[in-house]
């Protein structure tokens, strides 16, 4: 009787195993060091490149000639090696992985900490650094310590204006920034069936903010139907009785809109407690909340109105952007005064467009509010899409209304 991580990795919690990886990916940031480390190993060998991906998402398009030259070298290498390559404008690596690439039961590693996101498909998906990735490029495998698992039992349904982001901030605040270090999270219970894949992606995405290796859901009918739309035929995973080292229960009906306040993701307050805080920027996007359903929800709230503060919306992928164009969501956002960015990570990491100035305050739908992350002296509050939309209209942190 095993946890999903134990089943996928084929070992018991605490054991060290060597495993072939089904998918390994880097982005324009971590790819540079990965290529450097791979060259230093001194082999010209690459594992089966059909399992490797390189996706440009962090600084897209390049912001200066240093970045452009680094990206040029990576692009040439990726094309020459015949690995899967996703260029500027295609979208965030984790989002592309969730558009029909990662499948249930796979072992997936990404050179980015939010690679935990793909755990949503019932895959063991985790982040590694550049040198680990270079060795994976060489051998196609890596070592894992099979993690103990922390079970998060979900029950009930959302009420009021609460959404998946508020649930994610709830579990992160209850576990703390290191509450699941060296462990995996499994999201289970009656409350799971009512969550869409986009909801679940938010929960898996924030798992690393508790220190977890990954945040898994068992593939169910919702997963099967989602992947069928992406052209993939998969079967549900049947949970077995298993042992969790710790369990946490959350009733979705008790969740209220929350924000994580600077500079910790695990320090949250109900929106109503800090309502009225003036904002300089609202940012909607990222691997947490940049999907089509997020943009559509934001558009429903701002439709026919004008935002009162600079508002940057960055679709998570080209597919998201294309759907927003097709359905008219993009026009609503632009007419409301939003600025639309190139699909990618956008201002989340503070390296290019959308950087905060000294003393500025941003309400962001991202997953990190670390000190100076979006710009030196800027303050980041993390909240849901509905909170971001209500706040954008008022120019201050605002409790979203029940839709």
């Amino acid at each position: 009787m095993a946890t999903l991580s134990e089943r996928i990795l084929g070992g018991n919690a605490g054991e060290y195993v060597d495993r072939k990886v089904d998918r390994a990916y880097v982005h324009d940031g971590t790819g540079v060091l990965t290529l450097e480390a791979w060259k230093r190993i001194g082999s010209d060998r690459l594992t089966d490149t059909t399992r490797l991906s390189m996706l440009f998402d962090h600084i897209v398009p390049a912001n200066n000639s240093t970045t452009a030259t680094l990206q040029h070298e990576l692009r040439e290498f990726a094309r020459g090696s015949f690995m899967h390559f996703s260029d500027v404008g295609c979208g965030i690596c984790h989002q592309i992985m969730s558009e029909g690439i990662v499948l249930p039961g796979e072992v997936v590693v990404g050179a980015d900490s939010h690679s935990c996101t793909s755990g949503v498909f019932g895959a063991f998906s985790t982040g590694v650094g550049a040198t680990d990735m270079a060795a994976i490029w060489l051998t196609g495998e890596t070592w894992f310590r099979v993690p103990e698992t922390l079970g998060i039992h979900l029950s009930g349904m959302f009420s009021g204006a609460a959404e998946a982001k508020d649930l994610a901030l709830t579990y992160v605040s209850r576990l703390g920034m290191d509450g699941a270090t060296y462990r995996a999270l499994e999201f289970i219970g009656d409350g799971v069936a009512g969550l869409s894949m986009d909801d679940r992606l938010v929960l898996s995405n924030l798992s690393v903010e508790t220190g977890a290796k990954t945040g898994l859901f068992y593939a169910d009918d919702v997963t099967v139907q989602y992947l069928a739309r992406a052209g993939q035929t998969v079967k549900p995973q049947v949970p077995e009785p298993c042992t969790y080292v710790q369990e946490l229960s959350i009733d979705l009906s008790e969740i209220v809109p929350l924000v994580a306040v600077p500079h910790r993701v695990d320090t949250v307050k109900p929106v109503r407690e800090i309502a009225g805080l003036p904002l300089d920027q609202v940012f909607v996007g990222t691997c947490t909340n940049g999907r089509y359903s997020d943009l559509a929800r934001f558009a429903r709230i701002v439709k026919g109105k004008s935002v009162a503060v600079r508002t940057i919306v960055v679709p998570a992928s080209r597919a998201v952007l294309a759907e927003a164009i097709r359905t008219g969501v993009l026009a609503i956002l632009v007419e409301a005064g939003c600025t639309i960015g190139t699909p990618g990570c956008g201002p989340c990491l503070g390296a290019h467009s959308g950087v905060l100035g000294e003393g500025e305050v941003c309400l962001s739908t991202a997953n990190r509010n670390f000190k100076n992350r979006m710009g030196v002296g800027g303050a980041i509050y993390l909240g849901s899409v509905a909170t971001a939309a209500a706040s954008a209209l008022e120019g201050e942190i605002t409790e979203p209304e029940v839709s």
């Binding site: 450097e36 980015d112 590694v128 650094g129 060795a135 290191d178 270090t181 992350r373 030196v376």
Partner: protein, 156 residues
């Protein structure tokens, strides 16, 4: 592996953005990371790091997977980082670039001498000796080689 150095104390939950900020990542020039290491935590730390042992609170290295954080600390001349716990990606990154990490809950006194012997499994500060858990055999082999690149170069 043995080492010693004066303690440089930092707090808990130091994320890798604080070790090296995102605005300095887009380069292959490691000296830029050394120049700006811990800048957003405390700009006065960098000059203290050469030959030191960083003694941190829990969950050191959380957040971004950026390996530049481990490289910056190593190339700043830090002998080892000691903390009650490390974020797991940082843990792998540090060993992979040859930076020793020691899991130990050490009360930090700024500047006090910290000595350790990984093979014998102990760390000592202010006259108190603490046992430290061994790394896995694989991680020991990687660290002994000087890092994962050197480990694989030796395998070829």
């Amino acid at each position: 592996m043995k080492g010693k150095g004066p303690a440089v104390c930092v707090g808990p939950d130091i994320d890798t953005d604080l070790v090296i900020a995102g605005r300095y990542l887009r380069t292959k020039d490691h000296s830029i990371w050394v120049e700006h290491v811990f800048e957003d935590l405390d700009p006065s730390l960098a000059p203290l790091l050469e030959g030191s042992v960083i003694v941190a609170g829990k969950n050191f290295g959380c957040g971004s997977s950026r390996e530049q954080a481990a490289i910056a600390i190593r190339e700043a001349g830090v002998v080892a980082v000691v903390a009650p716990s490390f974020a797991r990606i940082f843990f792998r990154n540090a060993i992979n670039v040859g930076l020793p990490l020691i899991e130990c809950d050490l009360a930090c006194m700024e500047g006090c001498l910290v000595t350790f012997d990984l093979a014998e499994g102990w760390i000592e500060a202010e006259g108190k000796k603490h046992a430290i858990p061994p790394l896995s055999p694989r991680m020991q082999a990687i660290l002994s080689a000087g890092g994962l690149v050197e480990y694989w170069r030796n395998q070829r």
